[in-house]
Symmetry: C2
Subunit: 478 residues, 2 copies
Amino acid sequence: MPTTALPAELIARFAAITGERYALTDASAVAPYLVETRGIYHGTTPLVLRPASTGEISEILRLASATGTAIVPQGGNTGHVAGQIPREGASDVVLSLSRLNRIRDVDPIGNLIVAEAGCVLAEIQKAAEAVDRLFPLSLGSEGTCQIGGNLSSNAGGTAVLAYGNARQLCLGLEVVLPTGEVWDGLRRLKKDNTGYDLRDLFIGAEGTLGVITAAVLKLVPRPAGHEVAFAGLRSVADALAVFELASQRCGAALTGFELMPRIGVEFASRHIAGVRDPLQTRHDWYVLIDVSTSASAEAARQMIEALLQEALEKELVQDAVIAASGEQRRALWHMRESLSLAQRPEGGSIKHDVSVPVSRIPAFMAEADEAVSAMIPGVRICAFGHMGDGNIHYNLSQPVGADKQAFLDRWKDVSTVVHGIVRRFDGSISAEHGIGQLKRDELAEIRAPIEIDLMRRIKHAFDPAGIMNPGKVLRTGP
Amino acid sequence: MPTTALPAELIARFAAITGERYALTDASAVAPYLVETRGIYHGTTPLVLRPASTGEISEILRLASATGTAIVPQGGNTGHVAGQIPREGASDVVLSLSRLNRIRDVDPIGNLIVAEAGCVLAEIQKAAEAVDRLFPLSLGSEGTCQIGGNLSSNAGGTAVLAYGNARQLCLGLEVVLPTGEVWDGLRRLKKDNTGYDLRDLFIGAEGTLGVITAAVLKLVPRPAGHEVAFAGLRSVADALAVFELASQRCGAALTGFELMPRIGVEFASRHIAGVRDPLQTRHDWYVLIDVSTSASAEAARQMIEALLQEALEKELVQDAVIAASGEQRRALWHMRESLSLAQRPEGGSIKHDVSVPVSRIPAFMAEADEAVSAMIPGVRICAFGHMGDGNIHYNLSQPVGADKQAFLDRWKDVSTVVHGIVRRFDGSISAEHGIGQLKRDELAEIRAPIEIDLMRRIKHAFDPAGIMNPGKVLRTGP
C-alpha cells in the first residue's frame, strides 16, 4: 500500500504552525521516525512536525481535527509494540515531542518535578539528583526514551517493585485533546478526589486519546543505604521462596528482585564486554536482590546480610555475593540489563513480555517450557525479568545451528501457545510494553467483548473524528 | 418535592430478583438508608434492594436500564458528601451491597485478597492479619464502611503517606455496568499494560458509572517494628520542617505524619474519655509521627529516636514522647482520630476537606486563618489532618457563646472564601471525601469547562440511560 500524500496546501498549513524548519518532509529527514526497535513494522509518513510548545500542538490538533488528518505522537521512539510509528501505507503525520524538553519546576520539599513530555528520562533523573532526590523510574532505554512516551505507555522497568510503574509516579498531566483543547490537569496533589480519574485514562492510552504535553512527577528521598546481592539457586520455586522471604524481611526496602537463568548469565558473559559470572560455581538460576533504605548505610548492609544468611541456612540459596562498591552494584545491574542484547549474537529470538500472579511463576514457567520445547526441540529458553512484579520476559533463542528466519517464522505459533498458557494462569500478554500495533488484534481476541466495547466508547467519546494515533490499541472503524 | 412512587408492578419485578425479604419498602425499614452523616441531605426512596450476588445485581441493573429506574449503590453509608443516599423527592432505588460480604480468596504469597464489595473494611484488615499481612487502608469508620464504598470514593485515611489511598491498593475490579453486563476485571497482576485503565475510572466515580461488586486488593508484609511519637512544636512551618526531615531520614518507613493544633488537643482532652495531653507543657502545635519498618523492632526504635533527637537539636521540636507500648501507640492515634468527634460538644463546626501542595501548607493556613477570623471574630480554628499528604481538615468551631445555627448558616460563605484560597494555592476542595451531592455544583463552577465536559462524555458513554446514581458528581441532564 503506497503512502497517500497529504495535499501540499495542508502540509503548508501545518508547517506554518511550527515554522518550515520544524516540518520535515524530506525522505532522509523523516526516516528515523519510521523505524521501530523490533524491525517488524515499517512506517510511512508525508510529514513530521516538531512543535516547540503546548500552544503549537493545540493548533496542530485543531487543524488535524478540522481536516481529518491522523496524528501519531512520538517521543524517544523506543517502544517495543510499534505504538509510536505511523501506519504503513497511510498518511499519518508524526508529531514529535522532542522539542518540548523543558523541566518547568523542581520542588524538593513537595517531592515533585514538573517536566514537559519531551524530556529524556535520564535528564529527569539527573534533575532529581541535583536536589538530592530520586526519580525512581528506570529502564534500559532511559538515555533515549522521553517521559511523555513513558507515561503514554505506562512504562515499567526495574524499580516497579518498590515504586510502581509510570502511573504510580505521576500526580498530574497537561494534555492536548484531539480537538486542540488543552486539559490543564497539572495538579501537584497527593490527594484530590474531585471527579473521574482522567489522568489515569491518558496514562497507558498510547497516545490514542490525546497528546500528553507535560506532567507532574513524584520524587522520593534518596536512600542512605543501597545494597545489591547476586545469588545462585537451584530452581524457580526456590527463587520464589527467596522473594517471599525478602518481602517479609525487607518490606518497602526491597527495591528490586530480578530472576535470571544460567543461559542468560552465559550469554551475557560471552557477548557483553565487562560482564563475567560473579560466582565461582554454576547454578541453574540466579536472582539479583536490590535493597535500599533511608535508615542508614549500615541498616541496608545488615538487612541484606541477614537475608542471605537466612536464605543460605534454609538452603534456598546455594551461593551469593554482595556488591562491595557502587561500581560492583552497577556491574551486577549491567549484567541483568544486558540480557536482552546478549541474545542477539545467539541468533533469532522470539520474545514475550508477560506477567502472571507472582505465586504462580514456577508453575507457569514449567508448563511454558514444556510446551515450547515440544514445539521446537533444542530451543534455548532465556526467561528472565522482574520476578517481584510477576513480569517475565519469556524469550526464546533459536536452537544452535538452526535457520534464523525459519525459527522467527514460528513467532506467531509460539506466541499463541505461550499466551494461551499465560491466560490460563490469569496473566497478561503485555506486562509493560503495551499493545500498539503488535498486540492489537490479539487483545481484541482475548478480552471479553464488553471490555473492548468500553474502550471503544471511551475512544469515541474523546476522539470522535478518530485522528489520534489510529489503529493502535484498538482497530479503527466502528 | 414528594417522593415519586414506583409502580407496584415494577417494585414486584425488582423484588422477584432478590426475594421479597430483601426488597424493603416499609418506611421504618428503609429509614437507615436515607440518613447521611452530615445531616444535610434527607434522601427518599420507594425501595431498598439487598441482593446477594453479582448475578442478582446484574439482573437488577438490566431491569433498571430497561425501565429507566435510577439506582443508588450504598455500602456502609459513612460517606461525608451524600454520594450514597438517594436524592430528596426522587424515586431512586437504593442498592445495598452489604450482603455481598464474602472474602473470596486470600493469597499471602501473591500479597493479595479478593473481597466482595460489601465486606466491612475492618473484616478485610482482620483477614489480612490472619495470614500475617497488613491491608493498610485505615480510617475512622473502618468498623462500618465497606470496601466497595471505599473504592468508589477512593478513600484516604491515615496510612496514605506510605501506602496510598484506596486506588493504589487495588489491582482489579468486578463491576456491573448500568446495562447489567458484568466486567470481570478481577486481575491479580501488578503489571498489565493492555489497553485503557478502566479500573481507575470506576475507582472514585462514586457509583455513577457502574456498581463495583468485588475487588482484588494488595496486601503488604506486616512491619517488624512500629513506633509512634508525639511532639510539641511552635508553628506549622516547624511542623513542615520536621516532616521534611522525617521524609529524608525515614523514607518509606514514615507511615504517618499528622498535624494537630493546641485547641484540638484541648477539645479531645476535655470531651473524649481516656484522652489526655501526653506532654507536660503546652505547645501551639503537635505532630504525630508513625514509623514502621520490616527491618526490625530495633531499627524502628533507633529511627524514631534519631529523628526526634535531630529535630530537638535543630529546635524544630520543643518536646516529645515516644509511645512505650502498643497500648500507648493506640492511645496517641485515638487522640488524633477523635478530633472530629471532640468538636461536637463545642457547638457548630464548619468543615472543609482540602489539600494543597505539602510545601505550601504553612502559607495556606496563615492566609485562611486571617480570612476566616476577619469574617467571624472569635472563630476557633481546629485545623488538623494528614500533613504528609497535604490534606488538612480545615474545621472551624463556633465562637464561645455564639448561636450555633447562626454560625452554621455562614457555612457556604465561609467555604467560598476558604476554597477560594485553596484554589489560589493550587489545592483541592475535596482531598479525600469526594464530590457526591455536597460539592457537585461547586465542582462545576471551579473546573475548566473542558474537564467537566470530558467527565460528562465518559458518563454518557458508560451510562447513556443515566440510571447510575444520578445527580452525584455531575448534574443530570445534558
